[in-house]
Subunit: 413 residues, 2 copies
């Protein structure tokens, strides 16, 4: 019998208790022993059949020597950070779905886990139920990973899907996402790309075997994407997605979250609604993609319980896993990032703007749509240019065109 303490009985925590109960027979077989939830920490009171194991005192879990595995599904930094340190230092394995904590203190917590010969596992912190961290560490161990990119946030993907499929505005789609429980009342972390930024920091730390601070991830959100942008995308046979991307260079790591135009022929274009998909590029394997529900009670709890089973199989010592050496990696400036840009520009003299734009952005292509909202503007797709060069080119464009207005640009795959 292996005893588990669950900290936080919210959406994910209650899902963990549910799965451990529902599938207890097969889980015992797979873990090699019966897994039993002994105590649950939560300040709220729940009307559930297992009320008697709840406590409001963390010591009841942290100082219980019978408990070998702590599931931390509280979220947020405090008090999860202190509780996790105490648990690891007292020789308990800790499993978490807490992406804020892993992104901010993961390297330190992994080091504490190693010192205490226990595991700190966080498969559920990225991509909900989608297996990605373990495959990265184990299945792709033969590879040098050069790049990771994908759709890591379900809320924004739902909003973009509804804008594309139902012609909704950003605000309408966000409202719908809130009604369906896909967006929080304060959706900032999702729509501004911060959530995806934390996740790509966690993934790239594993893939590139060093510590990529999430604060170094360049982040743009989707709140500026409009119905007109969607129409242009459709015209080009592209889809707009919030893409998180990390790439390894000789002198460091580049990591970014931003809306991007993805060709409809790319498998990522068809990842719709709240689904997530993560592409990994390795020197031997080429491209490999993992797809599934990136959030939600049972999918996320499924990943937590997968980690619990793994910890139970390695109860007396850490798994031999490469967690990097904790070296903080050099995060490169976005100025050197090169991509094609889709650009919308405006001026009184449309014809003059058009010819000047094609002159300044040499090799650019014009894109036009038949919509009243796009009548007095010029849209182009530039050849690949660096972020640093764009500013100079735009200022030489604006100096040659009266009443020039830069509407926006969106990076292209």
């Amino acid at each position: 019998m292996i005893y588990i303490g669950v900290m936080g009985h919210g959406t994910v925590g209650s899902g963990v208790v549910e799965i451990l109960h529902k599938n207890r027979g097969t889980i015992a077989q797979r873990a090699g022993d019966e897994l039993v939830v002994k105590r649950i920490l939560d300040l709220k009171t729940f009307d559930v059949p297992y009320m008697e194991i709840f406590t409001k005192n963390a010591d009841d879990l942290l100082e219980d020597r019978d408990i070998d595995i702590i599931v931390e599904t509280m979220g947020g930094i405090n008090p999860a950070y202190e509780f996790t340190k105490r648990a690891l230092n007292s020789g308990k394995h800790v499993i978490t779905s807490n992406k804020e904590l892993v992104a901010q203190h993961g390297a330190e917590l992994l080091a504490i886990a190693r010192e205490n010969n226990v595991n700190y596992l966080f498969e559920a912190s990225v991509g909900g139920g989608i297996p990605i961290i373990r495959p990265l560490k184990q299945c792709l161990a033969a590879n040098q990973i050069s790049e990771i990119y994908g759709i890591l946030n379900g809320t924004t993907n739902y909003i973009l899907t509804r804008m594309k499929r139902a012609g909704l505005s950003f605000e309408e789609a966000l409202e719908e996402a809130k009604e369906k429980g896909y967006a929080e009342q304060d959706p900032t972390a999702d729509i501004k790309g911060y959530d995806a930024g934390r996740k790509i920091a966690i993934l790239s730390s594993i893939a590139f075997e060093g510590h990529v601070p999430y604060t170094g991830v360049y982040t743009e959100g989707i709140d500026d994407i409009s119905h007109i942008d969607m129409l242009y995308a459709e015209e080009m046979e592209y889809s707009i997605k919030l893409i998180a991307r990390a790439r390894k260079y000789d002198n460091g790591i580049f990591a970014m979250v931003s809306p991007m135009l993805i060709s409809n022929f790319s498998p990522l274009a068809d990842v719709e609604d709240v689904f997530n998909a993560i592409m990994v590029k390795g020197d031997a394997i080429g491209d490999v993609m993992f797809y599934g529900q990136g959030a939600g009670k049972l999918p996320t709890a499924s990943a937590v319980v997968g980690d619990v089973i793994d910890a139970a199989k390695h109860l007396n010592g850490t798994k031999k896993e490469p967690d990097g050496n904790g070296t903080v990696m050099n995060v490169l400036s976005i100025d050197d990032y090169e991509s094609k840009l889709f650009m919308r520009l405006k001026a009184k003299d449309i014809d003059g703007l058009r010819s000047k734009a094609l002159e300044v952005f040499e090799g650019a292509k014009l894109i036009s749509i038949d919509d009243p909202g796009a009548m007095d503007e010029v849209a182009i797709v530039t050849p690949p240019i660096t972020e640093g060069d764009v500013e100079n080119l735009l200022s030489s464009l604006s100096s040659g065109v009266e009443d020039f207005e830069f509407i926006k640009s969106i990076r292209m795959e």
Copy 2:
């Protein structure tokens, strides 16, 4: 230093040697020790810098007590079967990409491995480099898996992609696949679905934790798919794919390989060329998909080396993994399988056939395309019916229509 013996220096075997050499630094770090190829068994002679470690005598590997891990990349049943048994019985871990052997003798070889406290690992036998077996065993351990389905054969997927995109006939596309090295000179195992059948047998044995004999997998190939079928698919916004599928029922397993019409909105529809994709349905996780190159030298070798690293980390004993209890599972007859069918029918009296078909297949919808090759036929999509019922319905249709001819049917997702 951990010594490895490689049996078979063909496409995959030479890829394994290449990756172990190229990425030796990071691999040593991840495995916790240096991995060195000590001997290579092959009857052919190769002009490579490591010629001196080749041998034509299997005993040089099997009786070398320094060698802890055997990589079996010979393919075929004999002599791989005997060599694998000898290796396992002498306490060596065996890693293989040999799907024929795993599908036919996997259960027995796993039992022998367990008896000898070593591992028999075969991630590379399904889906080339795509991580699927380890995620199934570990990441999805919290789930009851109810279904696995997907595109498990790259050769046929390439042929179907070229038929769809370039309008080629089956024969032309097969010829092109041969020229590009994607199809073997004798392509039977691929185009008849036998290869995919072996792979779905392996996957379902793991997912359903019992032995699913590959001989029980109902198999249809793609050699009957025509240009006209592709046009109908396009009209319906569907794509034709060779789908392998296994589903668990209370009284057994159903497993099948056949061409299927897949909605263009399904992520599987966009899996093109030689790529593979595998969907898994679990009670907690919902749908999760794994996508990547299902074959090829380095992708497949990547999976083999991933397993080698795993074996190296668990050198002194098997990993605690559920391999099922070896019980042979009941494979259900295809007669009870229910699906919508796309059906092409012919008769002299087209109008009579049309109305009679809609009468017999109640609730069916007519499909028509504007192509000379489809002028004298009737195409319908039936409501879901079982395979067993189809025959009866067709015979009552044929008895009421003069010169009735059943052209073909294709199952629909």
